[in-house]
Amino acid sequence: MRFAPTDDQRALREAVRDLFADRCPPASVRKAWETDGPAFDTELWNQLADMGVLGLLAPEGAGGLGLSEVEGVLVLEEAGYAGLPAPLAEHMFVATTALAAAGTPGSDHPGELLAAMAAGEQVATAALPGAAVAFADVADVLVQARGGVVHAVRLSQADVVLRETVDKAYRTAGVTWHQGMGFEASDADLLAAHGALAAAAQLVGLSVRLLELAVAHVKVRTQFGVPIGSQQAVKHHLANVRLGIEYARPVVWRAAYGLAHREATAARDCSFAKVYAGNAAWTAAKSSLQCHGAIGYSAEHDLHLFLKRVWALDAAWGTRAKHRRVVADAVVG
């Protein structure tokens, strides 16, 4: 028994964190907000490809690193932390695993697409059947499961209708398509479970970011002659945020381990992770805003960028209510 990242996993996480700190500061997220039309940092994307992050979960035969969902969620926590305005989760975690598990090796295997994705030449996104598609304006390919078949759809050949979302750096679209490359799926629920877990991992990272912003603010903001962080109500708000993270992150890790080991309970655990990460992140978002006071409510402050990403990801890949029902089905019956 050992429930912690390995040294290699920690090193990967640190490298990704450093990259985002350098290349994806809040100003970059804000830029995605302010751009009319698709906003995509091609340079950053290529760096992710060079580091092997885009192909983290792709088979080695397709130019990937052949690593597992455990490494995947560690990277996605960092993407959440940074508020990354790019479909890394959809591309690297959801689409890649769905494609890698689909098709008959040798014949209709999506190896070529996977290789192009790992190399950063093709940008993929993914979505639940019938759901709005995130980053449809910047991706080349949409990966979606329908009736036991994993489809890879060229977005240039689909109808894409952008929606007006709260988080302008996480735009979604209604996508209608009639033909795509179809690959037989080994497990139709796999894509949905990966999607839920990818959102959960990012929500944990967002919670950490929101907590850090609040802690930094309440240490320096002074009212009544003392830092507001010395007030017990503020302390308790932020202690609750920390509690939420403490008990959500291991759930995310456990679900990733379950997916990596093809456990029968993996889908349930991904739902569990989505519920807990969503709870933690909303607590973090609301408490962080409250502890910032009016300045956090201003669009000039970075806080709202992260708050709105929580909003977006909480709604994505199935609501907490839905996933709570999945868990209840599995454990209560």
């Binding site: 709005a132 709260v166 979604t172 009544f224 109500a233 409250q290 006071g293 956090g296 669009a299 977006a312």
Partner: protein
Amino acid sequence: MDLTESPEEQAFRAEARAWLAANKPELPMPPGDSAAGFGVHRDWERTLFDAGWAVVSWPREYGGRDASLWEWLIFEEEYYRAGLPQRVAQNGIFLLAPTLFELGTQDQKDRILRRMAGVEDLWCQGWSEPGAGSDLASLTSRAERDDERGGWRLFGQKTWTTRGAFCSHLFGLFRTDPAAERHRGLTYFLLDLDQPECTVRPVDKLDGEAGFAEVFLDGAFVPDRDVLGGVGDGWAVAMATTGSERGLSLRSPGRFVAVVDRLIARYREQDAAGLVEDPSLREEVADGWMAAQAYKLATDVTVTRLAEGATMGPESSLSKVWWSEMDIALHETALRLAGADSNLDDEWARGFEFSLSGPIYAGTNEIQRNVIAERVLGLPRK
């Protein structure tokens, strides 16, 4: 207990309802916090004023109709039931006006109230400063005496000034005695912003609208006649307004009852279309109804007290905490109803964003709970 409306009250309600139905503008109106929307709201509120509905509880001489508090509640119910939005004049008519009625000179009332109600002048509140939020008494903006012109020159920065970008006047607290500390040596000024010494910078709110402003003052002039209350008495004068801001007038129950009505309609619509994913939302909608009803009933108790001569005490903090947390809960229910579409930038998402400011402004809910504990329950301060 008598919970029936008198024939006069019933007639008042019928008249208000009929007039609103016949005269209300096209809905939904654009946001009143946006440059485009502000004018539309101003026009509508002028229409309200011209027909005598802008400030029903004020004396007729200032544009009101001498209505009772009960009638004011009835008007608010009908106003929000008609789907109409929060008033852009509200910081003037609900926050400054009560103080003017209580402590203003006859000259001030004559000059200011009618123009305020008629949206000729629009008033914003100049309280918060970069260093003074919950701790208002730490404010550092100051006023210097100008004997030559017979008045004061204001210096400093006010911030989070709601709709400051669209307002013509500001009421606020400034330090007139540089040697005094905290609550002492403050004076309440009524300032015309149309001076070169005033710079107003719009600040976007979290919802993207320019609902805030920073106001920079570099010697803006206020004549003596526009000091409200005595020089140095600003704190006591301002506290009169605080009660209004937290309590009854800013958030009349009718507003939340109307939100709940829309929420129930939304639920039924989705339910009829088979689109309610989570069955427990039905009870959650009922929770919203109960919260709004409880607010209405508690307000009726308060209005009874006020009508019998009591004044609004620290109990206004109970009201502030309740409505602000209820407003968030109502909108969260709406977002849960929207499910996967809850991140669409629609009316409910906007409402949710606005609701999140409720526990922050007009004294954070943390401060309000301190007030409840200390001034209602009598717990020791520190």
